[in-house]
């Protein structure tokens, strides 16, 4: 399957009226979807108790992170005791009387809102893609559009050469629908370049992961959380707090200061090596 095994000359009009327009339309639809999503997404309603709930978790995480070492031992212990007791009693819970059984998300207005958000996002995704796909299959089927620079197995022939009933043609010659799919998956980086990191334009597989791992403490942005789940988070946070270690930030400070100003030879300790 060498490059010159088949030579097909394509009309430049196909390039001008099919190849480039499809790409342009998909970029513009992506940009449009980004802004439409921004318009459709309503600002999550601020809830004092919800914010307090997530802020308490965030505070506990900060306390047991290395940042807690700036406190004195007494202050650290006092905060740990206070927060652990509060988590135990559930002082900061948004809804202290919530039953442990998960409530029906349909009956909860907050859950309803979150589901509407998801529905809106999905609609903004599916509707334009369906429209573009039917536009392409309606107008641009039945001819070869471009040659892929990489070989594919014969298995893909039926999919990539839809509407071209030529048994012997190389699989690398593909029709407009495969150009559409290539655009669908490949334009993500272009959207990143023109719309920024957190755009809502393309099929973002990464965005899902990012949302999950961005900031665990931002409970206010996750309205789908169940009360029982938060209770468990409080319980585990309490255990983490009780295990939290403290060490004064001033420990060995004279050595570090001398090293910083070059008076003393830096001692490459185990942690230093890890940092390099």
């Amino acid at each position: 399957m060498t490059q010159d095994s088949q030579q097909i000359f394509l009309d430049p009009a196909i390039r001008d009226w099919v190849l480039i327009p499809i790409m342009l339309v998909m970029v513009l639809v992506g940009v449009l979807r980004h802004y439409a999503t921004q318009l459709l997404t309503s600002v999550p309603k601020g809830n004092f108790k919800g914010v307090r709930e997530s802020a308490a978790l965030m505070r506990a995480r900060t306390l047991r992170s290395p940042a807690g070492s700036v406190l004195t031992y007494e202050a650290f212990q006092a905060r740990v005791r206070y927060l652990a007791a509060a988590f135990e009693k559930g002082t900061y819970l948004k809804n202290p009387n919530a039953s442990a059984t998960p409530a029906n998300p349909m009956s909860d207005p907050a859950g309803m809102e979150a589901m509407m958000e998801m529905l809106k996002k999905n609609m903004a995704m599916i509707v334009p893609q369906t429209l573009i796909m039917s536009w392409i299959t309606f107008f641009f089927s039945g001819f070869v559009l471009i040659k892929l620079p990489f070989p594919l197995t014969l298995r893909f022939k039926a999919m990539l050469q839809r509407g071209i009933e030529t048994a012997d043609m190389d699989v690398t010659w593909v029709s407009s629908l495969s150009w559409y799919f290539l655009n669908l998956f490949g334009l993500r980086s272009i959207f990143t370049l023109i719309l920024g990191q957190d755009n809502a334009a393309g099929t973002d597989m990464n965005q899902m992961n990012m949302m999950g791992g961005m900031m665990p403490g931002q409970g206010a942005t996750q309205p789908m959380q169940q009360p029982a789940e938060v209770l468990n988070m409080f319980k585990s946070e309490k255990e983490f707090l009780e295990l939290a270690q403290w060490e004064s930030a001033l420990k060995g400070v004279e050595i570090r200061v001398l090293e910083m100003y070059g008076v003393r030879e830096p001692t490459i300790s185990l942690t230093e090596k890890k940092r390099l």
């Binding site: 471009i146 892929l148 990489f150 290539l182 980086s189 597989m205 983490f240 942690t271």
Partner: protein, 113 residues
């Protein structure tokens, strides 16, 4: 979070979440540009076949990583939580963009004369 075997808590690196996210966004931006540029270059050069195309993509990704590594003063953990982020993050995610621009440039230069 902090096992008892940790030698010293205070020497553990601390990251500002905002700064970490900014660094990741910068990396993503660089990688996106790289997918765009290297795809175009591969197409104009007329590379064909999975092997050549992907060797070219991997080589250019590695070159970008090396440049960023030098830019970071050869200390990746100063800017990212784990050292592998600089080398592998978003390389696979932008491979589709590379394919798209490879195909586009190849088609424009070598198919439509």
């Amino acid at each position: 979070m902090s096992p008892p075997t940790t030698p010293s808590i205070i020497s553990l690196p601390r990251f500002s979440p905002h700064a970490t996210r900014t660094n990741l966004a910068t990396l993503q931006y660089a990688r996106s540009s790289l997918a765009f540029v290297s795809g175009g270059a591969a197409g104009i050069l007329g590379l064909h076949g999975w092997l050549h195309g992907f060797l070219f993509y991997l080589a250019s990704s590695l070159a970008l990583s090396l440049m960023l590594w030098a830019k970071a003063g050869f200390k990746t953990t100063k800017y990212f939580a784990t050292p592998d982020v600089l080398w592998v993050n978003e390389v696979a995610g932008n491979a589709f963009s590379y394919l798209l621009f490879w195909t586009l440039a190849y088609g424009l230069v070598h198919v439509y004369d």
